[in-house]
């Protein structure tokens, strides 16, 4: 414990914790939409092509954080414009992802000293975040939250009830692209902690956990943020007290949250709510 308190005095630890807060809030707010819109595959594509972007930017001497954002934002636009129809969406995502990741491999091999940074990007780290990064991450997080605040209601409508939303004049297709861009920001943020390959632990699990706890959209967002905060900050503190990588703890904590919600808390809440008994029998 003393050791942990000592560590909190280091700047890299403070950066990690501040970044963790920002990242968890963005991931937690975005996650319920990712779950409700069935977009896990898209999240993965944005993440892996964020990696390509970061690798490319490092190669030409630019910031990897910017590269992440550029890579996933470009991918978001590709998927949004090419894959408007749900039926063709997965194949569009798949083919864009395969091509982009191929480029990523090329960038890695061109930059021989890259192995360490590649490992950090892929699996996450807590000491990769500089003070400048924290400011940048906070800036784009605020932008993402403002954008999501503006589109929150029509996006909810378009997500759960697209036909009627369209009939009521909601620009369903344009909102899909806006949401992909918001997701690109969330992905670039979450990669800082959990890495490219474990991205789903912050963008799927909190939303999927919240969905088990409440049928109210507003409450689901609050629960999702709480789960993301608990896993991120808890994961960082556990990583500091041991020497294991942070993503190990974040993924374990979030999986644990989901299991508790699914098998213990969710059924207990459902039993108290209207139609709870029916819920259990189906």
């Amino acid at each position: 414990m003393d050791q942990l308190l000592n560590l909190l005095g280091y700047e890299f630890v403070q950066n990690a914790i501040v970044a963790g807060f920002v990242i968890a809030i963005v991931s937690g707010v975005v996650s319920p939409f990712v779950v409700a819109r069935n977009m896990s595959f898209a999240v993965h594509a944005l993440s892996e092509l964020g990696f390509t972007g970061a690798a490319g930017f490092i190669l030409i001497g630019l910031s990897p954080v910017l590269g992440l954002l550029a890579g996933s934002a470009v991918t978001a636009l590709f998927i949004g414009t090419l894959g408007a129809r749900v039926r063709g969406r997965d194949s569009v995502i798949g083919l864009v992802m395969a091509f982009g990741l191929g480029l990523g491999v090329l960038f890695i091999t061109l930059y021989p000293k890259y192995a360490n940074e590649a490992f950090a990007l892929l699996f996450g780290t807590i000491n990769g975040v500089s003070h400048g990064d924290v400011l940048f991450l906070t800036g784009i997080a605020v932008a993402a939250l403002i954008a999501l605040g503006i589109v929150y209601r029509p996006l909810t409508f378009a997500t759960v009830d697209p036909e009627v939303a369209e009939a009521r004049g909601v620009p369903v297709r344009a909102l899909g692209i806006v949401f992909l861009l918001i997701m690109a920001i969330a992905v670039s943020e979450a990669i800082q902690i959990v890495g490219v390959l474990l991205i789903l632990t912050l963008l799927i699990t909190p939303g999927a956990t919240a969905e088990r706890l409440t049928p109210r959209p507003g409450q689901a967002t609050a629960y999702s943020v709480a789960v993301a905060l608990f896993c991120t900050i808890g994961g960082i503190l556990l990583a500091l007290s041991t020497n294991a990588p942070v993503s190990v703890f974040v993924t374990s904590l979030s999986f644990g949250c989901y299991l508790v919600a699914r098998f213990i808390a969710g059924p207990a809440l459902a039993a108290r709510s209207p139609r709870g008994a029916l819920a259990e029998s189906t």
Partner: protein, 277 residues
């Protein structure tokens, strides 16, 4: 005669070079219940989409409540075909109805007493108060569809567009939904356009029918339109219209025998003039 709720003037709609329907001219009287009939793919849904302003006609003019169609018109309520909500959909019945009131507006949508009261009143009017707070995905098809009606009515529309709202519901729920629509029309004097492939569940409510087949159409009362002669002309092949036990069956000859309701044949020409519904 008062202003029609919907007016079509020589309207043709085409996707690419394939016409959906051609030269449609008719007036839908305010306060009437119109059934829009025809086989699958005849363009019944496109007709509703044109009224909603989601597709533009290739030629001709549409007027809705005295003005050109515009997207998101709050005077139009829309009830889609029943599609079951996934059991885990994070939404209560109440939230679904609320989306019908202000879901199209920007922003987060904070709690609002006035809006909540309107939502509750709409839910009460379809007798769904008992289960409006349950997760929508846990409700039966009939319960979900009642909430969809509440969602369409909460913005106090004057025109209600229903796209196969009874499909995949059992007979009891079909009757329940039909009664709600009848009550709403009597209470408000609103107009209902009701797309269906089977006219029987709403036969007692229908003022006029519009029958669409492969771009051709015929309009009038059920007795005028649903006859062997009229439908044979529309389909371009022999079709029998049989009335039995108060139900109307459309039976057509197909290469493999006889098919009820939906004969699939090459169309032939049918002449038409302006219809008043």
């Amino acid at each position: 005669m008062t202003e029609p709720a919907v007016r079509f003037e020589g309207v043709t709609l085409a996707y690419g070079r394939r016409p959906i329907w051609a030269d449609l001219s008719l007036d839908v009287a305010a306060g009437s219940f119109i059934a829009i009939l025809g086989p699958n793919g005849a363009g019944k849904t496109s007709l509703l989409r044109a009224i909603l302003g989601l597709v533009s006609p290739t030629s001709g003019r549409i007027e809705v409540l005295g003005a050109p169609p515009r997207r998101g018109d709050p005077a139009i309520g829309y009830v889609p075909q029943h599609q079951h909500f996934d059991a885990e959909t994070p939404l209560r019945g109440r939230d679904l109805v609320r989306l019908g009131l202000d879901g199209h507006r920007w922003g987060v949508g904070l709690p609002n007493a006035g809006a909540s009261a309107r939502v509750s009143a709409s839910i009460a009017s379809v007798e769904a108060s008992a289960y409006a707070d349950a997760p929508i995905g846990r409700l039966s098809g009939g319960e979900q569809q009642r909430l969809r009606i509440a969602q369409a009515l909460v913005s106090e529309p004057r025109l209600l567009l229903c796209d196969e709202p009874l499909a995949s519901l059992d007979l009891r729920h079909q009757q329940g939904i039909t009664e709600l629509l009848r009550d709403w029309r009597e209470r408000t004097g609103g107009t209902i356009l009701f797309v269906t492939h089977d006219v029987n569940p709403v036969l007692h409510l229908v003022d006029r029918v519009l029958f669409v087949v492969n771009g051709r159409w015929a309009a009038g009362t059920t007795d005028e339109v649903l006859t062997s002669e009229q439908l044979s002309t529309l389909y371009g092949s022999h079709v029998d219209v049989v009335r039995v036990h108060g139900r109307i069956l459309v039976v057509g000859e197909t290469p493999t025998g006889y098919a009820a309701e939906e004969p699939h044949h090459e169309p032939a020409l049918v002449g038409h003039e302006r219809a008043h519904l």
